[in-house]
Subunit: 376 residues, 2 copies
């Protein structure tokens, strides 16, 4: 149950949009276990400390707004998820079930999120429902809340902008103080410190500082390697603000950039510009990817662009839509995506440049303000 | 397949112990998706950045040692998981499956980890197997690797000791510099910084600094509240070292501790000492919990001790065994657990003291060296 009238307008609207989807899928309610979806619909901010440790779930339907959580989060449940009925399982989920059994009694088909639910939790729930004599049927219902989250409202875009502004400030400060001999790990720690100092909630993901040959790996861990002159150094990091993520990549070279760096950098920057100015609503993700990939393929370097053009960013760092050359999806106004072409040469290094855009109809909006690109 | 002869002895032994369990469960192999289990059996250190983003899985059986991962982790797979056959799904799991189809052709029953696998991944895998004409049957097999991990070998205990030693050093430094007016958030950040400076891999979990009424919540988030004299301040944090976690709680009071603090602190410390000296192999988790709870109940404060006595610690901060008053398990030599009685009074504050012990037959071994407890 819960009291709809207490729900802040933001969440009431999101629940109303979800309700339409539930109807279309012939579902009485949805069990929401994916942490970002939980927060998106209720405002409950708790994260899941481990895969095996859920901090709670929602059950949302036409007349139902329940937040289930354990006693550790009782106060937060009341404070953050206003209008939700707090189901506190203080004797374990099994032992406490009778507290909500009656409230979900009328429901027939309960959707669940297959990507946000472990087989174990699913099995436990099935057992509990059976034992309580419930006739509630559990039905897989993938990507319902994700399909709402994919288009950002103005408030969400403001949060993403703020997260990105912090990230860019951090990059500029890091870039100004770069010196040969600093290790990747030390720079990585400085990034985290600056994100904290500049007011980020935290990091959106573990920072990447990949220098020299390490920059030849699209995904690199921080090492104790000292950075040197004349090599490429890829930065890829992001701050989180108000729960929302940002994602920025820049590549720099200390001292005089060698010819290969200049050539590849120019190519990647050209590909990025082509995509960030050309991407717009109505296009497919594949077409967007091709805007950048085409530039690189024309220079016969297609083979070195080893990943997709970009991905959606929101409450999660990686979310829909994927700007992938396979499995095309249609791009819509309000989607926020990264534009991050990259070239990688094993044992030499790599170049990656990543901006973020909010997709619009005529033209998309660049969310970055940093313009510290090389112009060769 | 993979080459058994290349496997480091540590992993060969662990796989041999797992093999016995597989036989007993009539399984040809196990699909390992839980990140800690993956690392425990192979040495592959990658973590899963999001619930929806697995960095890989193992398939381990009598003649099978496969590490599946995407191209981002290809180099790490080769470097870290020696002796494992690297199955790199560069065209997605579905598109690349033929690279291992033949290697798992002879397997009949493949166990999976229900607590470490999403319903989505399970569904995808079922489809892939069906499409590839495989007759491999997917069978839930919970807690097999966890049952090996629960007893630590001497190398693991050394790593945990080191993680805890870093944590204790950090606590002492924090404690020495505590001053009224410092905020919980600022102290929390200092904890993270010191863990980094003293050589931790990172934090085992988000630090808790809960002051005054906030200490009345067993699980508290950092706030901007400044700490004050005369109130209880609970610290709960841990460093990670070589992948292994540590977990420490201390409660302090700036200035002269009020009577209630003295009384409750003495009680919690008494309960902790009773449990940490009394706990031993052969006991049940319930009996261990009762060692501490009995002391508190005798003083008629049982109602305020709102959680279990402790939990196992290893590659995960929270793992088996749970020292819970319900669902008793038998304690065995080599288990590493926390002993953390606590009392919480809403609106006033709380006291929690947490040490770690390695369980032994005659007597268990205290892993802490910090002795900065009040003696009233």
């Amino acid at each position: 149950m819960g009291s709809r009238t207490l729900l802040p307008v933001l969440y009431r609207n999101r629940l109303a949009r979800l309700q339409k989807l539930l109807k279309a899928h012939n579902l009485s309610a949805l069990l929401v276990t994916t942490p970002e979806n939980r927060r998106y619909l209720s405002g409950f901010r708790a994260v899941d400390p481990q895969l095996s440790e859920s901090s709670g779930f929602l059950i949302v339907g036409d007349q139902t707004t329940i937040l289930g959580t354990d006693p550790r989060y009782e106060i937060e449940a009341h404070e953050e998820a206003r209008g939700f009925f707090p189901f506190i399982y203080d004797r374990g989920l099994e032992g406490s079930w009778d507290k909500i059994a009656e409230k979900i009694n009328g429901l027939k088909r309960l959707g669940f999120e297959p990507g946000g639910l472990t087989c174990q939790f699913h099995g436990r729930l099935k057992k509990i429902l059976k034992k309580s004599g419930s006739r509630l049927e559990l039905v897989p219902a993938a990507d319902l809340v994700e399909s709402l989250r994919v288009r950002k409202d103005p408030g969400e875009i403001r949060s993403i902008r703020k997260a990105l502004a912090i990230t860019e400030e951090v990059f500029r400060e890091i870039n100004r103080s770069l010196k040969p001999g600093q290790t990747e790990r030390a720079i990585g720690w400085k990034i985290k410190t600056l994100i904290h100092q500049k007011g980020g909630d935290g990091i959106a993901f573990e920072p990447i500082v990949a220098s020299g040959p390490n920059a030849g790996r699209p995904h690199a861990e921080l090492t104790d390697r000292p950075i040197e002159k004349g090599e490429s150094i890829i930065f890829d990091f992001g701050a989180r603000w108000n729960g929302y993520c940002s994602d920025l990549s820049r590549t720099v070279c200390l001292g005089k950039p060698p010819d290969r760096f200049r050539e590849l950098y120019g190519l990647v920057r050209g590909a990025q510009l082509a995509a960030q100015t050309g991407i717009r609503a109505g296009m497919t993700s594949q077409e967007a990817d091709q805007l950048a990939r085409g530039v690189i393929e024309k220079a016969c370097y297609g083979r070195l662009f080893k990943h997709s053009l970009g991905h959606g960013v929101g409450l999660a760092t990686h979310e829909a839509p994927s700007l992938s050359p396979v499995r095309p999806v249609s791009l819509e106004t309000g989607m926020v995506v990264t534009i991050e072409p990259g070239l990688y040469i094993p044992d030499w290094g790599g170049i990656r440049l990543e901006n973020m855009v909010a997709i619009g109809k005529g033209r998309s909006e660049l969310l970055n303000t940093d313009q510290s690109f090389y112009e060769f």
